[in-house]
Symmetry: C2
Subunit: 161 residues, 2 copies
DNA sequence: TATTGTTATACTCTATAACTATA
DNA sequence: TATAGTTATAGAGTATAACAATA
């Protein structure tokens, strides 16, 4: 694909200059790669990673509060508000003032929202598993295990290897 | 910190509902975590991860083209143009029309830019290593090895584990 | 006084497309 | 015709701060 081997620089091996040994840099690149290969089925439905993840978390945790959702997804609370308002406008999410703490807002999926998530989750799971990478299935499991530990995510159901 | 153990939902264990076994989701969370903990020394200097990485790559690969830089950093070419123009305005980068292919622009650091990178790179390296995570040093090496392989990054100098 | 969520603004980066100048 | 880069616009998500309501 590259045939121009003449320039003082264009032909040389490009170097990452130490960035290849920084975990932050590698994680950023991996993230860009993941976004680039995000599900071609979900994108046309207006679903970006943050959106489908939020709906899945609400599906899984009915009554979750704004702040809890933001923390689990590592989204800013201010942005979470916008996200949820748009879900509400779409008719997928219902907001309810908490009775214990009347400052808090609890989130629930509408029947339409729940049906949508139930239909889309297998699509997401499939597209995540199908995303091309240089890793074997076993290495992918290992990567996920390390990332969960990196994040301090306590997940009992995680595969041991 | 949480004493409200009464709600139908607030007290229950929150579940990731399968997201914890999707590599794309875990990588996204890790990326958010990395950005959150980006060097407190570099940020006040107007350096975000993409910016300092770009400068390092130009430092390491004088004469690199716009497109090559965008590809290595997985940035969009359109955004790379803006980035480089702002570096040029800062006096850190010099742009030069390639002699072999007069469509291409080659990038070089000015002496000021080179001095800045040389001063900041140890800061970046240090802050990357110091970022708190749930991993041991050895696991971090393993994570980086897996990420490089995930990305198809061919790096001879990488630690073997 | 501190906390939950809302609103608003500026900024970073993506997605897309139209454009130029070269090849 | 295709490629390297530029410009512009819309959108996603961050950073920050001021604000209202409640604890």
């Amino acid at each position: 694909m590259q045939e121009n081997l003449k320039s003082d620089a264009t032909c040389e091996e490009r170097s990452y200059g130490g960035l290849e040994n920084m975990s932050g840099f590698l994680i950023s690149l991996a993230q860009a790669y993941v976004f680039e290969h995000f599900s071609e089925e979900l994108t046309p439905k207006g679903m970006r990673p943050a959106q489908i993840s939020a709906l899945i978390l609400i599906r899984e945790n009915p009554g979750i509060r704004h702040g809890e959702l933001a923390e689990m997804l590592k989204l800013k609370l201010a942005y979470t508000t916008k996200l949820i308002k748009s879900f509400e406008a779409d008719g997928w999410v219902r907001r309810e003032q908490s009775e214990e703490d009347r400052r808090a807002i609890q989130l629930y999926l509408t029947p339409e929202g729940a049906a949508f998530v139930d239909a889309m989750k297998p699509v997401l799971t499939e597209s995540d598993a199908a995303r091309p990478s240089g890793l074997t299935a076993r290495e992918t499991q290992q990567l996920m295990r390390l990332l969960r530990k990196y994040l301090g995510m306590d997940v009992p159901g995680a595969t041991a290897d």
